[in-house]
Every structure is written in C-alpha cells, then in structure tokens.
Amino acid sequence: MAEVAIKSLFIVLLVLQVMGLGVFFERKVSALIQDRIGANRAAIMGFAGLGLVNTLVADPVKFLLKEDVVPAGTDHLLHFLAPVLSLVPVLVTFAVVPFGDVLQVGGHTINLQAAELNVGILYVLAMVSLAVYGVVLGGWASNNRWSLLGGIRGSAQMISYEIAMGLALVSVVLTYDTLDLQQMARAQGGYLLHGWLPAWGILYQPVAFLVFMTAGVAESKRIPFDLPEGESELVSGYFTEYSGPKHLIFMMSDFVEVVLVAALVTTLFFGGWQVPYLLRDGLHFPWGAAVALPSWAVALLQVTAFALKLVFFTWLQIVIRWTLPRFRYDQLMRLGWQGLLPVALANVVVSALVIVLAAGPAA
C-alpha cells in the first residue's frame, strides 16, 4: 500500500511540476512568438525570474483569492461538480503511465508505475472519455447560451476525435502485442543499425503518431481545435460563467491534459523512460565501451529522461497552439471524420498485414 501511495504521489507531483512549466511556456513562449515581452510584473524581492514568479506564484494566489461568482439560475450542484469532473479523470490517468523501469531497494524490486493494469491503454481511453462530462455539464449548468454552445461543441469534438485516437492506439497495440504501458515502454529497448539507433515506436508507427498527436491536441481543446472556448464567438465557451478557484481548476485540467498527451506520446512513440544505450546495469555504448551504474542511478536517469521528454512535448503543443489559426467547425469535423479516421483505419489494416506476413505462415 505504502509503495503504491508513494509512487502515485510522485507521478502526480511530477505532472504538476511539468504543468507549471507548461503555464510558463504559455506566458513566455507565446510572448516570444508574438514579439512581445509577456508576464513580467510580479516579483518577489525584485526577482521576477523571467515571469516564473508570475506564473507559479502570483497567478494561482490571485485565482484562489477572487470571488467565486455563481450566476442566478444555475444548477448549483452540477455547476460545482463540473470543474472537478474535468480535472479528476485526467489526473488519475497518470496511474498507468510508467516513469521508470525498476528500482532495486534492499532486495525489493519496485516497478516504477503506480498501477499495474493488464488493460492499461483501455483504462486511459476510459478516463479520457469521462473527461467530456466536465465540459458538457459545465456548459449546461451555467444557464448561459454561450456556455451551452461551448459545451455542445466540446462534447461533439471530443467524441469525434476519440475514435481516431482509439484507432491509432489499436495499431500501437498490434505493434507491441500488449495493452500495458510499462510493457510497451520496455518493448522499445531494442536497437537498429548494429546497435546505434534506439528502436522507439515512432520508427514503427509514424502514421499512428501523427494521428494520435493531432487527436490528442483536439482532445485537450487547444488551438487550432479550441472551438469549445472560441473567445471571438462564445466569450470563453463552457467556462464563461466560472470565476475564481473553479475557473482555476478548469484551466488546470486543460494544462494537465496537455501534459497527459505529452506523457502518452512519450510512452507510446518515444521510448517512455528509455535512455539510449542505458540498460538495467549501466551504459553499454555501441562502440563497445560500458559504464556500470547502480540501480538508483539508472532509475534516476530514466525518470529524468521521462521528465525531459514530457517537458519537450508540452512545449511542442504550446508552440503549435500559438502558431496555427483556429479551424472553422465544419473543417474540424471534416478533418476528424474524413481525414484522421480513414488514415487511422488504413494504418490498422496495413500494420496487421505487415505483422502477419512478418510472422510467417501460422503454425
């Protein structure tokens, strides 16, 4: 029990750190892209830390101290529950994301993954599909037409892109022959080109990566897929009528979703916690050199590598957000149903054919 609790706490804290960095990117990288300075007003004893003080201290404190306005005519229970229902499913999904291989502590072998489920990837899909309720109920309970439109747009969009996402995952499952994310990460420990090139999932499933990443950005409702918010049309969509702490929770769940997409892309296509040439007993370079390392050092390197990959993909999604314009709604639906869905389906068929042919005639 204690072991699971510590691992869960660790992964949640890791995710929240990366989320904080994501908010920092949102403020400062967007400023860089738009050629402005960005957040630089708040400082602690003259230290503004490139806007870090603003994003990590001033913003949350301000949000928490604001008045929580609940407009007249709202459904109080659902208005209160909606932000919670959008944050919790996303946060618990990290239970099956592995953040390292194994750690040896005094004879114990600890698997660095909070929950070992033999249906890990289905758990991810189930939780992601529950996250839609926060959007729908938030939009409905606010008793505001902009909110309702945002909620309806959000639910239609999330359901549509879930299908492409699921099909991309089917071809990934075919490739690794397992549903457990930890087994998938371990399966990416091989090497190609005489031991030089780490055989990460992206080399086997590039199409699935593109479909999954696109569907993932759409699931997290970010530009170019942020029609549920659509500031220029819907004020701010399904969370127009939310203020103070509840608004903070909605924003937080958005950013945690970004980190979740980053974590899944990392685990499925970029080796998860794999560090090139690092095995369980140390570094083995392809030119023959080897460095023996203790178990804790290997685990530390792996967790660091996982965190760095997370930060990179979070950054990438923020850059996408500030680079592309917003889709029109019909374009969004056409991309989902007529673009991603057929591509993902074809990819499943091709993957299955290749796997069957490579395995030779069935015994």
Partner: protein, 163 residues
C-alpha cells in the same frame, strides 16, 4: 471483494439507479445513469473482468450517455412538471414490477449455486477473452458486427434522405 464493501457498493448502485428513474430533471437523471454504469464497472473489476469493466466505461459511460445528454440539451428539456399518472397506469406498473421480482427470486432459488472453483490463470484477461471471442463465439460475434453495420448504414440513409 469483501462482503461489507460489496453491500455498501450495491446500496449506492441501487440508490443511483433509482435516481435515474425518480429524478425530475432529465440532466440529473443522465448523470445518475453515468454513476450507475461506473459503479457496475467496479463490480466487474471485483469479478476479475478488467476488460469488460473498462469497455463498459468507454462505451456506455463515455459515449452513449454523452449522446443522451447531447439530445437532452439540444431539445432544451426542462424539469418535468409531474402530471400524476392515472391509477390504472400506476397499478399495472406496480403489478408488473411485483411479477418481475417474484420471477427473479424464484429463478435464483431454483438455480443451484455452482461449486466454487478457482478460475484458471489469466481469467478475464484480454488474451483469454479474445481467444474465446474469435474461436468459440466467432459466429455470434460476426453476426453482431453485421447488425451494427446495418444500423449505421440505416442511420446514414435516413439522415441523407432528401425532402
């Protein structure tokens, strides 16, 4: 699943299922339906059927009830003013309910409890379930998918009908 946990969960599930029927607000009813389905998934987990549990959440809680909510919101259904149903209707419904309860209880009493057996290794896991589905139950499985295909084609045909 230990008996106290089971009883507690069962009580919550029944209460949640009753809310679906009794609540006057259609959106609240739909939410109660989601929680009922999720609680049922917990029972599946207790029976070592992880695959079924998560498929239940993905398909029913995550997709079908969202579509229910979608329709409720688009139709803008308000809290229903309960027009008290006629005594005849209430009487018939009550009789039907009692008859169903008697049927279930009798069937359960007659059925001999199966001898407790230890399920084989890998029971309820995806590989075991898939093997059954694609060997023993291949025909029903394929027939079901044709049925679903027919439904999809029919829906598209209806939606595309020109006035």
């Amino acid at each position: 699943m230990s008996p106290p946990v089971f009883l507690l969960l069962a009580a919550v599930t029944v209460a949640s299922a009753l809310t679906v029927v009794v609540h006057k607000n259609p959106v609240h009813s739909a939410c109660a339906l989601v929680s009922t389905l999720c609680l049922l998934a917990v029972f599946f987990l207790g029976l070592d059927a992880q695959l079924v549990a998560f498929l239940q959440v993905i398909v029913y809680a995550g997709a079908i009830v969202v579509l229910f909510l979608f329709v409720i919101m688009l139709l803008n259904l308000r809290v229903e003013a309960r027009a008290m149903a006629g005594t005849l209707l209430v009487g018939t419904a009550a009789a039907g309910g009692v008859a169903l309860a008697v049927l279930v209880v009798t069937a359960l009493r007659r059925a001999a409890a199966p001898a407790a057996t230890i399920p084989p290794a890998g029971f309820g896991e995806t590989a075991a379930l898939a093997r059954q589905l694609f060997t023993v139950y291949l025909l029903p499985f394929e027939l079901t998918s044709i049925l679903l295909l027919v439904a999809i084609v029919g829906a598209v045909a209806l939606a595309k009908k020109q006035p």
